[in-house]
């Protein structure tokens, strides 16, 4: 089994009121299709599996042409050698766990079927469950049976459609870890669909961002999170403190911008050579956990340690467990730019308690220029 599964896909599929028109390639181990519901991610997966036929285009996996509208090639799902983990797992309810896992092995000799099924169950820690019915299993076990059933046939590519969406939060986190481990252990190239950011980030090597049936960004996962290619991507990944300012001066390494009466300095990305004209609007985001609270019990802030300093008042807060989210309204005339506040700031709970933020509401903040991310529009 090769670690590298090259997927080369360019397809169009039209429905009344919706058109899927996407093209992407990937060499990485785990490719995540990320985007809101109804953006065409699952449809792409079904086209990859041969369960849905595109109107136009081409799908090539590992050098094998699955589909090519130009030459009329359209391999049926039975011949594509892909493993598919369905949303909700789609385990056969009338078969035992063992029969589910061996379902794809039917063409092999009986002894070989048994050997392979046992091996898969052993590796996925399902030993002893072979005679159980799927409904008797926990969510985690069901996920492993679904994975085992797909992996037993040694597929060239594993497709996973929202594998964790049916679960509630604590279990979800646990199964995400399990899934990550399985994908790494089996060294299998995979395409995974999700609309959950943390899931995408944890499992992906490469992220393809979908929106309204189109790809709006395709990048490595670090780039995905830290350099969203557009304001739309930033919104999709639920970026907090997504703000709108005005360009004062743009150079290849720095951008100065004005926002809520503040003159802010941000790092520009020389690679992208983004040089908007002064006076033009600019979108940027600041991660709440990268806003620094200036402690009053320390020395006065100096320019070297603190840049982009601003002053404001806590107008709302939420306990998030390990951290507190503070809603800050700047000491500036004019209406706040977010829903009643200007900036969201995240502080560790310990800091919240030590500094007694509950009663002390007025603070100064600073933001390193590297923590202000400008978004080319």
């Amino acid at each position: 089994m090769s670690m590298i599964g090259r997927v080369d896909l360019a397809i169009v599929k039209r429905f009344p009121g919706f058109t899927l028109d996407v093209a992407w390639t990937a060499d990485e181990g785990v490719v995540v299709l990320f985007g809101p519901s109804g953006s065409g991610k699952s449809l792409t997966l079904r086209c990859l599996a041969g369960l849905e036929r595109p109107d136009q285009g081409r799908i090539v996996v590992n050098g094998r042409t699955f589909f090519d509208a130009a030459t009329g090639v359209d391999l049926p799902p039975q011949q594509r050698r892909i493993g598919y983990v369905f949303q909700g797992y789609a385990l056969f309810p009338h078969l035992t766990v063992g029969e589910n896992i061996a379902f794809g092995l039917r063409s092999r000799p009986r002894a070989e079927q048994r050997r392979r099924a046992a091996e898969v169950m052993e590796r996925l820690e399902l030993g002893g469950l072979e005679n159980r019915a799927p409904r008797e299993l926990s969510g985690g076990q069901q996920q492993r049976v679904a994975l085992g059933r797909a992996l037993a046939v040694d597929p060239d590519l594993l497709l996973l459609d929202e594998p964790l969406s049916a679960l509630d939060a604590p279990l979800r986190r646990q199964l995400r870890d399990d899934l990550e481990r399985t994908l790494r252990d089996w060294r299998i190239p995979a395409v995974l669909v999700t609309h959950d950011l943390s899931e995408a980030y944890q499992l992906a090597d490469r992220v393809i961002v979908y929106d309204h049936g189109r790809v709006i960004q395709a990048s490595s996962k670090t780039e995905f999170l830290w350099q969203p290619s557009s304001e739309r991507v930033a919104r999709l990944i639920d970026m907090r403190n997504l703000l709108a300012g005005t360009v004062v001066k743009a150079a290849p390494d720095r951008i100065q911008l004005r926002w809520r009466g503040q003159l802010l300095e941000a790092v520009n990305s020389p690679a992208r050579a983004y040089l908007p004209a002064p006076g033009s609007p600019i979108a940027f985001f600041i991660r709440p956990e990268y806003v620094r609270l200036i402690r009053k019990d320390r020395m006065a802030p100096d320019d070297h340690h603190h840049m982009n300093v601003m002053r404001g008042r806590v107008v709302g807060e939420a306990d998030q467990g390990a951290t507190w989210s503070l809603r800050i309204r700047l000491d500036e005339p004019g209406a706040p730019v977010q829903d009643g506040y200007d900036l969201e700031v995240e502080v560790p709970s310990l800091v919240y308690e030590i500094l007694d933020i509950k009663t002390d509401r007025f603070w100064e903040f600073s933001i390193h220029r590297g923590s202000i991310h400008v978004l080319p529009s």
């Binding site: 369960l51 598919y84 379902f103």
Partner: protein, 221 residues
């Protein structure tokens, strides 16, 4: 119970069992086809199969005579070839009951087949199963209770079929007179005791069938 009553009962059960078997043979593939495939003439086929459910049975019987009678579209060539006609034989009762019962099975089985999670079928495809094996190994086993309930309903319908049978098979005592027809004759000729016995027999039989269907229904739920 006299001999005539017993003959009618035996004939009724024989006709209903055979009609149910024919229903299974024709109705289950038909239900699968209507549930899964989009083909030319699908709506028309659905309509033809379902019509006996809403038409008066005599109208269905009339169509069957037009089709299978000695001078019918299929009946005439058959008669010329073999000198035999299905009309007024007990086979005619089987055919009439089959056609009348078919919509009950097809509709019930189709709903059961459609309610099987199609991801299960897709999973079987990706695991290498062609469609016909997927139908036999996944779809039909999972639709089993619905299909069985449909067969029970078809059996009950065949057992009670009157109008279409009368049209195509006639009411010949000992030959085509099933229980419902025998009841009609008994009432017409004033043999009220025999009518009562037959009515009771059919009622008991129908109750057994309905209870069986109810059991299947709750198990599938």
């Amino acid at each position: 119970m006299n001999a005539e009553t017993l003959t009618a009962l035996r004939l009724s059960i024989q006709v209903a069992v055979l009609a149910t078997a024919l229903n299974a043979l024709v109705g289950i593939p038909l239900a699968y086809l209507l549930a899964k495939r989009r083909f030319w003439g699908r709506t028309a086929l659905d309509l033809v199969v379902t019509l006996p459910l809403v038409l008066p049975p005599t109208v269905t019987g009339y169509y069957l005579i037009v089709l299978l009678g000695r001078r019918g579209w299929l009946g005439a060539p058959l008669y010329e070839l073999t000198g035999w006609t299905v009309a007024f034989t007990w086979y005619a009762a089987v055919i009439a009951s089959t056609v009348m019962a078919l919509p009950l099975l097809v509709r019930t089985a189709r709903a059961a087949i459609e309610s099987v999670d199609s991801d299960l079928e897709r999973a079987a495809f990706t695991l290498g199963r062609p469609e016909w094996r997927t139908a036999l190994e996944v779809t039909l086993p999972l639709a089993r209770n619905g299909i069985l309930a449909g067969l029970v309903l078809a059996f009950a319908r065949a057992l009670g079929e009157f109008g279409a049978t009368l049209m195509l098979a006639g009411n010949i005592p000992g030959k085509t007179a099933t229980v419902p027809l025998a009841i009609y004759s008994a009432v017409q000729t004033g043999e009220s005791h025999q009518a009562a016995v037959l009515v009771l027999a059919l009622t008991v039989l129908s109750c057994i069938v309905l209870v069986a269907a109810g059991r299947l229904g709750t198990r599938s739920a």
